[in-house]
């Protein structure tokens, strides 16, 4: 069974097929329903916050910032209390797709690496999971900006 080449041998291919067949089916329907419900609820809560901030003097345009900030704060607190991950195992994308997931990824990484100190640990690892989101978002925005400049 020794194989130094990168190409898949027939034995390997057969086994991989067998292994794939053994994977228990993911509960896609249940997960999707929960993701929809929880994600929807978090966004509804966000809408409530937006309306509250508008009553407190923010305009429709500027109410978005404090709304997101409050959601991020709540997400960090729940992560700090150790309950966010338990909730997320159950709710899946319902908690990771809203901005709460982004905050959780940064907060959890910061907390985890506190034992390595503030500079290398917290500072150096905070963007471990969230970094990809920021990098890809920025690069995409750059190219879209250029395309817009050239064609719009």
């Amino acid at each position: 069974m020794a194989n130094n080449k990168k190409k898949t041998t027939p034995t390997q291919a057969n086994y991989q097929q067998l292994a794939k067949a053994k994977e228990p089916p993911r509960r896609i329907v249940r997960n999707c329903i929960l993701a929809f419900l929880v994600g929807g609820l978090i966004c509804t809560f966000g809408e409530l916050l937006r309306k509250l901030f508008q009553e407190w003097g923010f305009t429709e345009k500027t109410a978005g910032d404090p709304t997101v900030a409050v959601l991020i704060l709540l997400s960090c607190i729940l992560t700090g209390l150790g309950v966010y991950d338990k909730f997320a195992q159950w709710a899946g994308a319902g908690t990771s797709v809203p901005v709460t997931g982004f905050a959780n990824s940064m907060c959890s990484a910061a907390m985890e690496h506190r034992s390595e100190g503030l500079v290398y640990g917290v500072g150096g690892n905070m963007f471990k999971v969230a970094g990809a989101v920021i990098v890809f978002g920025t690069v995409a925005a750059f190219f879209i900006g250029i395309l817009h400049g050239l064609f719009a």
């Binding site: 069974m1 020794a2 194989n3 390997q12 991989q16 993911r26 992560t79 195992q89």
Partner: protein, 339 residues
């Protein structure tokens, strides 16, 4: 003594003079809760980091195993061990405390049997009068190093496994009272091209089957020779695949009880462990607790413990490499002959 192609036969079988297992809260709630020497309710054990806590589990297992063996720790000639951490720091730091000549080994989750085989060989060849073999793992250090921060909210797929928090160790001697190590089979790397680190069972099953098959060939045995052949942490998916592979290769594994430590240590219905347990500590705590206890109670006479390891790193996975795996087997028989 070389037996066959890649096995060792111990004509004067080393004796397991003492063994111990120290586990965390989740393991302490599982079906084997009465078989461990010590269960801790807190995974952090009051330490400043998960890594320091993992060291405590191992250190306590070694101390307890030495106590139970009745020999003086200073009489031990060598300590063989390893773990999952980068550069096996958990074991090295414990070796510093223990203060014995030390051989660090890395076999990922196969370390328990790799270290036991090496320690047994040192005893059998006369290179040591007494040896300690031990390993540990910790759910949080494994998650932190291999997957995501522990408080990160990601959903684990049903093929994922739950790393055991626990340390297991044994003290071996050339003679004395206790279960005997009759032989071992050193595995070779088997890589069937599985790339998914959340499905280790599937990656490791071929290695387990390869080593067990080789062991039976080297020693010219049928599976029925053993009361129990048990793998380290194939868990639900890997165990099922192993059975299929045995059937395909016409190895009559059903002649005996074929089980897996990762399936025994947790109650998959009640505990959120997806496919089952994994980690160096899985095979170690189940062997140095449940299995040897059963042997001492007379329930088992001859067992083959086959620890399985997935030899990937977070880097190799990110670079798109598949997962090379290995399995090491140790044959243990009850005192008074395996009859």
């Amino acid at each position: 003594m070389l037996q066959g192609k890649q096995s060792w036969r111990f004509d004067s079988p080393p004796v397991i003079l003492g063994y111990a297992s120290v586990v965390g809260p989740e393991e302490g709630k599982g079906p084997l809760k009465n078989e461990f020497d010590l269960i801790h309710e807190d995974m952090r054990l009051g330490q400043k980091s998960w890594e320091l806590a993992e060291q405590q589990f191992l250190e306590q297992a070694i101390t307890r195993a030495v106590e139970k063996s009745g020999i003086d720790q200073n009489a031990v000639n060598v300590y063989v061990g390893g773990d999952l951490m980068n550069q096996i720091t958990s074991t090295s730091f414990v070796a510093r405390t223990v203060g014995l000549p030390y051989l660090g080994v890395f076999g990922a989750c196969s370390t328990s049997m790799e270290s036991l085989a090496v320690a047994a060989q040192l005893i059998s060849s006369g290179a040591a009068h007494y040896a300690i073999a031990g390993t540990c793992s910790h759910n949080c250090t494994a998650e932190k190093q291999f997957r995501y921060p522990t408080e990160y909210g990601s959903q684990k797929p049903p093929t994922a496994q739950f790393t055991v928090t626990g340390g297991g160790a044994s003290v071996l001697g050339a003679s004395g009272s206790g279960p005997r190590i009759k032989g071992a089979t050193i595995g070779k790397i088997v890589d069937m091209g599985i790339k998914d680190p959340f499905n280790m069972g599937a990656a490791m099953a071929p290695a387990a089957v390869d080593t067990i098959t080789r062991h039976l060939q080297d020693f010219q045995l049928e599976p029925s020779y053993y009361d129990l052949i048990i793998t380290g942490d194939l868990a639900e998916i890997g165990h099922s695949l192993a059975r299929d592979l045995f059937a395909e290769n016409q190895v009559p594994i059903d002649q005996t009880v074929f089980s897996d430590c990762g399936l025994l240590i947790f109650d998959r219905e009640k505990q959120q462990v997806q496919a089952g347990g994994s980690g160096c500590g899985c095979c170690a705590t189940v062997t140095y607790g449940h299995l040897l206890n059963r042997m001492n109670r007379g329930e088992l006479k001859r067992i083959l413990v086959v620890a399985t390891g997935a030899l990937l790193s977070p880097l190799s996975y990110q670079q798109g490499e598949s997962i090379p795996c290995i399995a090491h087997a140790v044959a243990i028989e009850a005192e008074g002959g395996g009859n």
